[in-house]
């Protein structure tokens, strides 16, 4: 039985145990529920936990250990003349072949199996066996040696045995757990406490997984980055003004210096983000002011979600819009007034990205402006200030720190944005002040360095990790600072 079948079985067992637990605890007090320490559902859960949890652990551990153990068994059983007994890399190749054959064997019919068996014993050409397996989707580069077929037999048997073993063991564990839990159920049993401890452990487990994944990602990027800096000097990366990784000659060790300059990319990223903010901050802020201070509840209830839909549009759609509609439009308009605007320019990408981040600015600023206490507005009205005076001189200054935080968050979105710039900003790494020219960004280069036929260990590929880490550090710093500001602002009015 496969692991998923075992899990399904455990699920059914849990449901049954839950019901049994409830029935049992009711019976233990002769139906008087008030005498129980916990509500009946907790007794049900208690029994279900005892039934499932040990068996579940066993299954998971088994599933994790199965592969390496079988591999080891197969490896040690190989004959001395088998390829790879001396060499690790070859060994993994051989084991891979055995694995493929083992995958194919159970799919064969009786007669086909016979053919293979004959081939193994040398009665039929091995080529025939290879063809048969190929039909079952097992691609072998060359005719399999007899020992590979034997080993594959063994592997199939090991797997089969293992599968039955774990099924039996899981059933046994479930039963044992059930019996233990069943005998434990009595009115004084603190079922709720046990169940809640298990729930707590599950929650802690879930958050641990989330945290460990993040840490894992950061570290993997970090290690590749360190790897990158072994072939390219750190200084050349961070302070180089030329980005030209392609022309690294293949023969030279580590690649030429000065070709992985971060500065043009960083400049492109910041330039586009700046244009985006120049678009998003005024529009977003003004709409937030209108929404929170002037709009009636009806209009607000309809317009705010509409604005937030903007945030739900996939960025690739913005990218397409920039590439197909807005870029050419800007170029043609520019041509009409005598401006030479590239179709993919800083301006195109920046404006479209600005549209994308409007909802971030407006929605957050709206919340922040609304959080300015009503008493301040009343205080101002009470002194004879008009609405616009109140907004300009009391509400906005009071909300300013929070708004700055909102803008920083939007900026970090803009800096990390990929799809729009991939499609709309261009790929030329220019260090230019002209917004009509095309530039490129860190994210674009990460994409272009990783898509292609380059060898993975070359600095051309590894630089993507260095870029990724740089980007990560920048946006993280921005986010942390922005959240710090927003939080401080919130505390001010609590």
């Amino acid at each position: 039985m496969s692991t998923s079948m075992i899990l399904l079985g455990l699920l059914i067992a849990a449901a049954l145990a839950y019901i049994v637990g409830i029935v049992r605890c009711r019976a233990s007090t002769g139906g008087d529920v008030a005498k129980l320490h916990s509500r009946t559902g907790y007794y049900g859960s208690y029994l279900a936990i005892w039934t499932v949890l040990p068996a579940l652990f066993l299954t998971i551990i088994w599933a994790a250990a199965e592969q390496p153990v079988i591999r080891h068994l197969v490896e040690t059983s190989l004959p001395a003349h088998a390829a790879g007994v001396e060499n690790d890399a070859l060994m993994s190749l051989t084991l891979g072949r055995i694995n493929s054959v083992a995958e194919g064997l159970p799919k064969l019919s009786q007669s086909e199996f016979k053919t293979i068996e004959n081939a193994r014993l040398g009665f039929t050409p091995m080529l025939e066996a290879q063809r048969l397996l190929q039909e079952k989707g097992v691609i072998l580069g060359a005719e399999p040696e007899p020992y590979i077929i034997s080993a594959a037999y063994d592997e199939v048997i090991y797997r089969h045995t293992s599968s039955w073993l774990i099924t039996g063991l899981a059933a046994l564990a479930a039963l044992a757990g059930f019996v233990y839990g069943f005998t434990q159920i009595r009115p004084r049993l603190r079922a709720r406490n046990t169940v809640e401890r298990v729930v707590l452990a599950a929650l802690i487990g879930a958050s641990t997984v989330a945290i460990l994944t993040t840490v894992g990602i950061v570290f993997s990027v970090l290690f590749e980055t360190i790897h990158f800096f072994q072939s390219v000097p750190t200084f050349d990366f961070f302070f180089g003004t030329v980005w030209d990784p392609r022309f690294t000659s293949a023969g030279r060790e580590g690649g030429a210096s000065g070709q992985f300059g971060l500065l043009p990319l960083l400049w492109g990223t910041l330039f586009i983000s700046f244009v985006a903010l120049a678009v998003a901050v005024p529009i977003g802020l003004y709409s937030a002011i209108y929404m929170s201070e002037y709009a009636g509840p009806k209009f607000r209830g309809f317009a705010k979600p509409l604005l937030e839909i903007l945030a739900g549009i996939p960025t690739i759609v913005y990218g397409l819009f920039a590439l197909i509609t807005f870029g050419p439009f800007l170029r043609d308009t520019g041509a009409m007034v005598g401006l030479d605007i590239a179709a993919s320019s800083v301006l195109t990408a920046g404006i479209v990205m600005g549209i994308m981040i409007i909802p971030f600015v407006s929605s957050l600023s709206d919340d922040i402006i609304s959080a300015v206490p009503q008493s301040l507005r009343e205080g101002s009205y009470g002194l004879g200030a008009t609405k616009s005076e109140t907004i300009r001189k009391v509400v906005l200054p009071a909300a300013l720190p929070g708004i700055v935080g909102a803008v920083l968050l939007a900026a970090s979105r803009a800096i990390g944005e990929t799809m729009i710039v991939v499609l709309a900003a261009g790929i030329a790494a220019n260090l230019t002040l002209n917004p009509f020219e095309s530039v490129t960004t860190i994210t674009v280069k990460i994409v272009s360095q990783l898509t292609g036929d380059l060898e993975f260990n070359s600095p051309q590929t590894l630089v993507a990790f260095a870029l990724g880490l740089t980007l990560f550090v920048i946006t993280l710093a921005l986010n942390v600072y922005a959240l710090y500001i927003v939080r401080k602002y919130r505390e001010q009015y609590e």
Partner: protein
């Protein structure tokens, strides 16, 4: 309860405690206030004598704040709120269409239950009103206004070395006196106070009460309070509200020594509220 109150209005409505001699500063006639469909005040008639302190008392939710906020049209800021009847300030209808509400609020200052200094410096807090009303000639004039306002609010001595520090950094009592100074800075005639001491400790309360006592010389003060001792200490005239009706109004001494209405008696004896 509703029934009794309604029948009682017929007797109490005309009673408005008309001041003897001098014309009242504020007169309210048949004031009704609605929040949406719900009526919060019923035919309130009240005269506020000038240069004296009038206290509004009554159990919470009876409409004291609502009435107070009619006097500077703060209720305009609540969209669902509707006011009927007539309120005059110096014989001028404040709900008149030609009247500028901005000017009205400069003449009728307000101090709120919770101190609400703006997150600006003490100086800018005080200067806020004069600046928006264009009362300032130059920098020295503004400094003068700030100083006299703080002086009148009895805060100058405490803060004169730190007028450029944030107003929110003051203690609760100082903040409330800052708010009073802020109101004074726009040179109002009337100051409305809505439970100005309810968020303050006894010592700060005593200071504010002392301040109210002094301000009475030059200003007409209407104060909402839930503390009957406070009403007794600071006011000359007291009005008792009960679920939207003005039940009884008279000289403070008379209201507390010899209340006419059964409900006033009960409230003052502490039997409800």
């Amino acid at each position: 309860m509703e029934q009794i109150a309604t029948s009682a209005t017929a007797e109490t409505a005309p009673m408005s405690g008309v001041a003897n001699g001098e014309a009242p500063k504020v007169t309210a006639r048949d004031v009704c206030v609605f929040y949406g469909a719900k009526q919060a005040l019923f035919d309130v008639n009240l005269d506020v004598p000038r240069n004296s302190v009038t206290a509004l008392i009554g159990p919470s939710g009876c409409g004291k704040s609502t009435f107070l906020r009619c006097l500077n049209r703060m209720n305009d800021t609540i969209p669902i709120c509707r006011v009927t009847g007539k309120i005059e300030l110096d014989e001028q209808d404040i709900y008149d269409r030609d009247l500028d509400v901005v000017e009205l609020r400069a003449r009728v200052g307000m101090v709120f239950q919770k101190p609400n200094p703006f997150p600006k410096s003490i100086f800018d807090n005080i200067a806020y009103g004069p600046r928006i009303h264009g009362l300032v000639r130059d920098k020295t004039h503004l400094e003068e206004i700030v100083e006299t306002s703080l002086e009148k609010a009895g805060l100058w001595k405490e803060v004169k070395d730190r007028v450029h520090e944030p107003g929110t950094g003051l203690s609760g009592g100082q903040q409330q006196r800052l708010c009073i100074a802020r109101a004074i800075a726009t040179t109002p005639d009337v100051i409305l106070m809505d439970e100005p001491c309810s968020a303050l400790d006894p010592i700060a309360t005593a200071k504010v009460e002392e301040l109210i006592h002094e301000l009475r010389q030059n200003y007409t003060i209407v104060i909402v309070t839930h503390s009957m001792q406070q009403a007794r200490r600071v006011s000359q005239k007291t009005a008792f509200f009960h679920i939207g009706y003005l039940v009884e109004v008279g000289d403070t001494e008379q209201i507390f020594e010899n209340p006419q209405d059964k409900r006033t008696q009960d409230y003052i004896m502490g039997r409800f509220g």
